[in-house]
């Protein structure tokens, strides 16, 4: 649905300006990618690198025994063609977006072990900060993808107008693109919030003390060793729904459509 809408709005722009030739360059979304990618690299690709390192070795209990080369991969993939397919010659932006999509497709469960190691090394195990950083990193690709789509749906002429009127790329982002992107920002924020609020697996892995426990983990502890306290468990579950609903209701007005209406004609 969303994609269809983006595609159709892009098509209209091409028509209105008489062919793709006229389309001026878009500056803003790519600028935003840089810091996002940095965080991304550190927190998602960092564990990935650890994972790659481990995958190339014979590993027992997080101790690297001996270098095994690509043996582990051949066991998994079985062929060289898969690797060849990855050697595409992308230009910068396409490559960046491909990385983001690729990262999005990595199941979190497969990252848990290397992430756990990284978090421990950084001294962030069993801290709220550790969880915050992890949730940010996990959801960043999806958020970038959503916002990228939203930014691209804004009329490029409005950005161009801001540049001609004297705005640097960053000022264009701040004064024009972000104010117009409120619905997209809110949608992305809710998306991340819902994930972080509901997450169980990451929270249960990265925390140990009662003080840092998140709601889903706390609820899980009603399932004790000696018995199941169904009453408090269900009560807690229901209570945990309330804040999310409250946030949705509060932010609903930002989902207004037609925020960009009247800016451009044709």
């Amino acid at each position: 649905m969303r994609i269809a809408w983006l595609v159709s709005s892009g098509g209209e722009r091409t028509l209105a300006t008489g062919g793709s030739v006229r389309r001026a360059e878009r500056f803003v979304p790519y600028r935003l990618l840089a810091p996002a990618l940095a965080v991304e690299l550190l927190l998602v690709l960092g564990p990935l690198v650890v994972g790659v390192w481990y995958s190339l070795h014979n590993v027992r209990f997080f101790r690297v025994r001996n270098f095994t080369g690509l043996d582990n991969y051949w066991r998994v993939l079985g062929s060289e063609e898969v690797l060849n397919a990855l050697r595409y010659d992308f230009r910068g932006r396409t490559a960046a977006m491909m990385v983001i999509v690729a990262v999005m497709s990595i199941p979190i469960a497969s990252l848990l072990v290397p992430t756990f190691t990284l978090i421990s090394v950084l001294g962030l195990f069993d801290t709220r900060l550790g969880l915050v950083l992890l949730y940010t990193a996990y959801q960043l690709p999806a958020a970038i993808w959503m916002l990228y789509g939203y930014f691209m749906s804004l009329p490029v002429e409005v950005e161009n107008a801001a540049r001609v009127d004297g705005c640097t790329p960053l000022a264009t982002l701040r004064k024009v693109v972000l104010p117009l992107s409120k619905p997209g920002l809110v949608a992305a924020a809710l998306f991340i919030l819902v994930f972080a609020w509901n997450d169980f697996v990451v929270a249960v892995t990265m925390t140990s003390s009662e003080a840092t426990r998140t709601f889903p983990v706390a609820i899980y502890f009603y399932l004790g060793f000696y018995g199941r306290e169904w009453g408090p468990l269900l009560a807690a579950s229901l209570v945990s729904i309330v804040p999310i609903i409250a946030v949705f209701v509060f932010l609903q007005r930002y989902f207004m459509s037609g925020l960009t209406g009247g800016g451009v004609k044709g």
Binding site: V21, A161, T168, V264
Partner: protein
């Protein structure tokens, strides 16, 4: 206010050459239209000047300053976009004030208010200052976009088909307003349009583009009366130019062009085209006078009354057709009648049929 100079500017998109080695100079205070069909390179030229695209080769100067590599915000220009590109989240006042507030040093609030109100007064949008773009009409949005460009005193104004989204009546009124505005501001304006009538009425000079190449650059009268090639002759003018194929012959009274519609005297003077090249005669409808003649082979097959003018499509025996203009009050003619044509030698253009380049214009 400043001059604009393009020197050897090219732009390609992959295999497509959007602009081929453009040399163009706009003098201070001139109103120059870039005219051409879509994909001709006129909008590319404007975007290169605005800094919204980067040139592959060549240099662009505003005044004496080389701006080829500068980002748009450092070029000291103002631009009106085809679809206005107003900031939808800002009021009309904030839209017009935007270029003042985006730049440093930023004027104080009182100065901004005074400037915005003056511009809004000039353009007749003063009562709308508190509204949002979506709450005003298309014509009003257009004026706000103009106001946003006028509020500063930029070196050059760039207008990208600003009238093409208005209805016909409003467009003609805005055309007049734009011209008055240019007289009043005296600023250098580069104006992109595909509407030849707009270019003719507004410009000090017109640059005609086709296929990424500058075809002709000159005053409207020169473009109209001495088109450099077949493309220009055909593109400029309300009605299409008639093109007749034939052969050149030497007559008693100068050159004669023999066509299916008869022998057309080209008059004395003017260059004699080289022998042996195929030629084509360009005739605008107003260069043909029509007289009723029952005995003629030429028949009127279609009459179109366009208010002040009557356009007659005349067909010869071999299906060759020309369109001629007549004064509807001076001539009574119905479809099917025979006519005689008289060609005004002063207004005939001879082109090389192969290259399309003009080889001879009537009247010298």
């Amino acid at each position: 206010m400043s001059t604009v100079t393009f020197e050897g500017v090219s732009k390609r998109y992959g295999e497509v050459v959007a602009l081929d080695a453009l040399d163009l100079r706009v003098e201070e205070g001139e109103f120059v239209s870039l005219l051409g069909p879509s994909g001709s390179g006129k909008s590319t030229t404007l975007n290169l000047l605005a800094g919204l695209m980067d040139a592959d080769t060549g240099s662009i100067r505003i005044g004496t300053r080389d701006i080829t590599g500068l980002p748009p915000e450092q070029r000291d220009i103002a631009m009106v976009f085809q679809n206005y590109a107003l900031y939808p989240h800002l009021t009309v006042f904030e839209n017009i004030a935007f270029p003042l507030e985006a730049r440093k040093p930023r004027p104080d609030a009182a100065t901004i208010r005074a400037k915005v109100e003056r511009v809004a007064g000039t353009l007749g949008v003063a009562p709308l200052l508190a509204r949002y773009p979506k709450e005003i009409s298309g014509g009003q949005q257009q004026r706000v976009a103009l106001g946003r460009a006028m509020v500063r005193d930029p070196k050059v104004f760039l207008l990208d088909e600003p009238l093409s989204n208005l209805d016909a009546r409003l467009r003609i009124r805005m055309r007049r307003d734009l011209k008055a505005l240019h007289h009043q501001l005296g600023s250098t304006i580069v104006y992109v349009t595909h509407d030849q009538a707009e270019a003719m009425t507004l410009s000090s000079r017109i640059a005609v583009f086709d296929h990424g190449k500058l075809q002709q650059y000159g005053a409207p009268a020169e473009i109209y009366e001495r088109p450099a090639n077949i493309f220009v002759a055909n593109f400029v003018g309300d009605r299409e130019t008639n093109f007749l194929d034939g052969t050149l012959e030497a007559g008693a009274d100068g050159l004669v062009y023999a066509t299916a519609l008869g022998r057309i005297p080209l008059g004395n003077g003017g260059a004699t085209p080289r022998e042996g090249r195929a030629t084509r005669l360009g005739v605008r409808p107003e260069a043909i006078a029509v007289e009723p003649d029952g005995g003629s082979d030429l028949r009127v097959v279609l009459t179109e009354l366009a208010g002040a003018d009557l356009f007659l499509t005349v067909r010869g025996r071999d299906e060759t057709e020309v369109v001629a203009r007549a004064d509807p009050r001076a001539i009574r003619i119905t479809e099917g009648e025979g006519v005689r044509l008289r060609f005004d030698a002063e207004r005939l253009h001879l082109f090389d049929a192969g290259t399309g380049v003009a080889v001879r214009h009537g009247g010298g």
